[in-house]
């Protein structure tokens, strides 16, 4: 810049010197001084032109022109603040909505795993032709999206870990699992995740306070240590800095908090919130749900942990996979008790961690893609709206454009200037939109948090979102500025320069063309709004259908809560006694009609399933059934009708308890002698156990006992390839219950088997006479009187529980309705603007019509008729588009078809009514035209 300025300054001096020299030469040739000077000037040429040309050699011409355009644009826009304000607000809404939704997509789906070098991580998965003979198996939602199993045993993990030439680091984790957590305030349930000692170091996750877990913590002799997650530290401990070193109680053991993890690490699996991390070594000390017979740490047939690894540089995925497969085959086929045969072809496949560990995202993803589509449509509507406004404005600026063209501006230059105006508007709108989106993100996160205890994702704008916003802003600016710019640069000069009314705002031909383009824009807006409205309408109806469906039991006035006796070291027998005691106390409370309990509450998101073998079916062919252990009076408390047979009696519970005790004892005994070469010493006489009484539901009876009476029939325990160990009493059907929803509201009712509950944690259901929540303090008191150390968790009413199940649907319904409203408002503003302008433009014509005898009614019909015509055309296009598009939504709809005519018709009627309202004011203005004033209108 400096050089350039210097050059330009010297230039004028240089030119003066040049001319002076030439003048002197001319004088030397004999001319008079004036003639000499004149001749020199002539010989030089146009000084101004050459000075300008030289200056242009040094300048970034386009930059200067850009700044010039921008300054001019600011000046003209500040002269029409109303126009600028409407445009900026419209754009801010459109861009802000897009940015907000994209932030969610970015945070949930696109952002990489919150660890160091996530692209190097691989997660292990296995496959085989047969199911391995496992003692226990657990999964926590990992790898579900790829239909692979990612659960492995701890001994296998330890084997893998020693193979350091393939992997530079490995980590294993399992969870989250519920634990009773006390020491940070009142006793509550928290979600803990088991991690291996090298978890934090392999993933590169740091702590903001204290230290992470390390290998020394993962030994059986180490004192239990845990690391809190950042969110849980904030939520449960209020962010106190003194937590490090504090002792807390997890179920039955004491452990010390050694650190708090960094904020961005919520879990390796996105969306599964973890409250704290603990080493695997704690697993055999902590007393928790009795769900398997083996020791989880040393038994190679308990597969429950997920393994991730970092490939060593230079090792390819195929090599690592082959090495892992070899070890897997070795482990499963040559161990003490083979879990698989070689013929089953066990193999390990390594998946990139980001793909395999999908977690919650697969559930939420389609929702957000749908929302993204909707906000994209809204942005288009906003742009069409603004384009219409700018077209109207450009029509009034034709004289200005004509003058500029006459003065020598190139058409390209004018177009550039008009585009600069629109880009400037969209920049301001975009900036405002970013602020709006921050608010929007907070609002949506708050909506989400009412369904989850804490929203499991960290949503914050980052460079990707910013880039997206900037891109969208520029695209919008150019999109809606293009048509007016083209129009502005193409006008004829002569009519433009004339000042008569017929040429302002541009003559019949021009404004006719404008009007057609303007109409097209309004039609487009209406069509897009229809699509958004129909989508929202379908979602609203889905929600209503889900709300109104009959789940098979009476959902009103039920109080639900859970107790976890494992926390207080109860044996199976003590547990059964506890439940009976509690149930009787609850049932006798005033205000409680009846009480019962079950292993899981209906529609709580948890369920169990198991296999049974039907008598008379081919050997080793089992059928799968949903499985629920229930307490006495369950069916009467939940008001599930009994269709045949009877419900459980106290004798049934006693019998089931006895059977359970026998089977458990036999299994424990056989587990102890497992691996020994001798024959199994099962005493046949001790192995007798009565079949457990069960009640099946109607679906089960229909599917597996068609045309028979199932009551009194026997079912066997599932038959596997290997002969069964221990007593196999089977089940005896004593009754048939009506169908109820158990696992989910949407899916069809599956065959279900109910049996008497004799162990494990239970959820209590209390049918109350009045509002269930009023009884919560009484219930707490009853429980604490029975056992002070027994915490209650998850206290809620059945209706609240169902609301929670529906919360994603409700969210979709609410957000899409908000968007639909926005789209409707925008479209109507567009229609209103167009018609207003039309009336203003045709004032003279309307005056003439009135003077010639037209009634005010006729003028009204003229305006409103035009408006309705545009709406109907737009609606037709919109409906055609919607028919094609809504089929993509059909997976999330319930009880309503994607082509539902009722919804379509309803939306069209709604839009027409609102459009009528939008036509109202311009129509009234048309009616009030005074013919005399109009004829004088110049």
């Amino acid at each position: 810049m400096k050089r350039r300025e210097r050059m330009v300054k010297d230039l004028e001096q240089d030119i003066r010197d040049h001319i002076e020299t030439e003048t002197q030469d001319n004088i030397a040739r004999g001319m008079s001084p004036e003639d000499a000077h004149y001749a020199a000037m002539r010989k030089f040429g146009n000084v101004t032109r050459y000075t300008e040309e030289t200056r242009e050699v040094w300048s970034f011409v386009w930059l200067e022109q850009l700044l010039q355009d921008a300054r001019y644009a600011i000046r003209t826009l500040t002269h029409s603040p109303g126009f600028a304000a409407i445009v900026i607000i419209t754009l801010a809404l459109g861009i802000g909505a897009n940015t907000a939704i994209f932030s969610f997509i970015d945070g949930i789906l696109l952002r990489s795993l919150p660890v160091k070098d996530p692209q190097q991580l691989v997660v292990f998965s296995w496959s085989a032709h047969a199911r391995p003979k496992l003692t226990g198996h657990s999964g926590y939602g990992d790898c579900l999206n790829l239909n692979r199993d990612c659960s492995f045993s701890i001994p296998f993990f330890k084997t893998l870990r020693t193979h350091t030439d393939t992997f530079s680091g490995m980590a294993a984790f399992a969870g989250p699992l519920d634990y009773d957590f006390s020491g940070g305030g009142p006793a509550r349930m928290a979600q803990g995740q088991y991690v291996s000692g090298d978890f934090f170091s392999t993933l590169g996750v740091n702590t903001i306070m204290g230290r992470p877990l390390g290998m020394p913590d993962d030994s059986p002799s180490a004192p239990p240590a845990i690391v809190l997650s950042y969110a849980y530290w904030q939520r449960a401990f209020g962010g106190e800095r003194s937590v490090v070193g504090r002792m807390v109680r997890l179920n039955n053991i004491s452990s010390v908090i050694v650190g708090v993890a960094e904020p961005r690490f919520t879990n390796l699996t996105p969306g599964n919130p973890v409250d704290f991390f603990m080493p695997f070594s704690v697993a055999d000390r902590i007393r928790s749900e009795h769900w398997g017979h083996g020791d989880r740490i040393s038994d190679p047939s308990v597969w429950w942990s997920v393994i991730v690894g970092r490939l060593k540089p230079g090792v390819s995925l195929a090599q690592a996979q082959a090495a892992a497969t070899t070890m897997f085959v070795n482990e499963t086929t040559h161990g003490a008790t083979p879990l698989l045969n070689e013929a089953d072809a066990p193999a390990v496949k390594l998946l990139p961690a980001a793909q395999g560990l999908d977690g919650e995202t697969s559930e939420i993803a389609p929702m957000f893609y749908l929302l993204m589509f909707a906000v994209g449509l809204i942005l288009l509507i906003a742009c069409a709206n603004v384009a219409g406004l700018m077209l109207a404005r450009s029509a009034t600026r034709q004289r200005e454009m004509a003058v500029r063209l006459a003065l020598g501006a190139g058409r390209a230059r004018i177009m550039r200037q008009l585009l600069t105006e629109s880009v400037l508007l969209s920049l301001v709108g975009g900036t405002l939109g970013v602020f709006l989106s921050l608010w929007g993100i907070k609002a949506i996160t708050a909506l989400f948090s009412s369904g989850y205890e804490a929203f499991p994702f960290v949503i914050a704008p980052d460079w990707r979102v910013l880039l997206f916003t900037v891109g969208v802003t520029f695209a919008a600016g150019i999109l809606f500025g293009l048509a007016p710019a083209l129009r502005g640069a193409r006008i004829d000069l002569t009519p433009g320069l004339k000042e008569t009314a017929s040429s302002l705002p541009g003559g019949a031909a021009h404004s006719g063309r404008w009007f057609r383009l303007g109409s097209a824009l309004v039609v487009a807006q209406v069509a897009l709004s229809i699509v958004v409205l129909i989508g929202a309408g379908l979602l609203v109806r889905t929600l209503r259908n889900l709300h109104n469906l009959n789940p098979g039991f009476d959902t009103r006035s039920i109080l639900l809560f859970g107790v976890n006796p494992a926390a207080a070291e109860y044996t199976d027998q003590k547990t059964a006694q506890l439940y009976t005691d509690l149930q009787q106390r609850f049932a006798s409370l005033p205000g409680v009609i009846s009480a019962s309990y079950s292993a899981d509450a209906l529609l709580s998101g948890n369920h169990s399933s198991d296999n049974v073998h039907l008598d008379g079916a081919p050997p080793k062919s089992n059928v799968s059934t949903e499985w629920l252990a229930v307490g006495p009076d369950f069916f009467s408390t939940m008001r599930i009708p009994l269709l045949a047979g009877r419900t459980f009696t106290p004798a049934d519970f006693a019998s089931a308890a006895a059977t359970n005790a026998t089977v458990t004892a036999a299994a424990d005994a056989s587990a102890k002698v497992a691996g020994s070469a001798g024959p199994l010493n099962v005493n046949p006489s001790e192995a007798q156990a009565a079949p457990a009484p069960v009640i099946i539901n109607e679906a089960f009876a229909r599917q597996f006992f068609p045309n028979q009476d199932p009551v009194g029939k026997h079912m066997g325990n599932p038959q596997e390839d290997e002969p069964a160990v221990g007593p196999q009493p089977g089940y005896l059907i004593v009754g048939i219950a009506g169908n109820t929803k158990y696992n989910s509201l949407r899916s069809a009712i599956e065959p279900t088997t109910y049996l008497p509950q004799v162990s494990n944690s239970a959820h209590f259901e209390l049918r109350t006479a009045a509002d269930p929540t009023a009884l919560i303090p009484v219930v707490r008191e009853v429980v604490s009187r029975v056992d002070n150390n027994l915490p209650l968790f998850n206290v809620r009413t059945q209706t609240e529980q169902i609301e929670q199940m529906l919360f994603l649907d409700r969210l979709m319904s609410e957000i899409s309705s908000a968007f639909a409203l926005l789209a409707l408002v925008l479209a109507c503003i567009g229609l209103y603007g167009l018609l207003s302008y039309e009336v203003a433009r045709r004032t003279r014509e309307l005056g003439i019509r009135m003077a010639l005898g037209a009634q005010r009614r006729d003028l009204l019909r003229l305006v409103v008729g035009k408006g309705i015509l545009l709406v109907l055309i737009g609606a037709a296009i919109g409906i055609a588009a919607a028919i094609g598009l809504t089929r993509f939504m059909s997976t999330i709809l319930y009880g309503v078809h994607a082509d539902d005519p009722l919804t379509f018709a309803g939306v069209v009627i709604l839009l027409t009514l609102v459009a009528l309202a939008a036509c109202y004011i311009p129509a009234r203005r048309a009616m009030r035209v005074d013919p005399i004033v109009a004829l004088r209108y110049e």
């Binding site: 010297d10 030119i15 010197d17 040049h18 030089f44 000084v47 032109r49 030289t54 242009e56 050699v57």
Partner: protein
């Protein structure tokens, strides 16, 4: 292309003027007015360049680094800006001159084929 009519200004193509300027500076630094005079003189008055057009050309050449400018004193003790070739400019001159010769030779061969054959 080139006619010998007096008082007819010839609009030279931008690139050709640049080439002429470079050639003029081959023997040493010259100031602006002298460059104009030199071009007129050396072309036997054929090329009457509008003198002002030199200045944009000179600044273009400075911007591309083929010539440089410095203050100096002219013959009649006036202050003037002297322009001189840089090493890059010297190389450029050689390249452009040979390109020009090739083109001129090719055109001449087309325009005067009979004379060519005669030789």
């Amino acid at each position: 292309m080139f006619t010998k009519e007096q008082r007819e200004r010839i609009e030279l193509l931008q690139g050709t003027l640049d080439l002429l300027i470079l050639r003029t500076l081959l023997r040493g630094p010259v100031h602006g007015h002298a460059i104009a005079k030199a071009i007129e003189f050396n072309s036997d008055e054929v090329l009457q360049v509008e003198q002002g057009s030199l200045y944009p050309a000179l600044h273009r050449l400075i911007k591309r680094g083929w010539i440089s400018a410095e203050e100096g004193t002219s013959e009649n003790n006036r202050r003037a800006k002297f322009y001189k070739l840089t090493a890059a400019g010297r190389r450029r001159l050689t390249v452009e001159t040979s390109k020009w010769d090739k083109m001129a030779g090719a055109i001449a061969r087309i325009l005067r084929p009979a004379e060519q054959e005669g030789e």
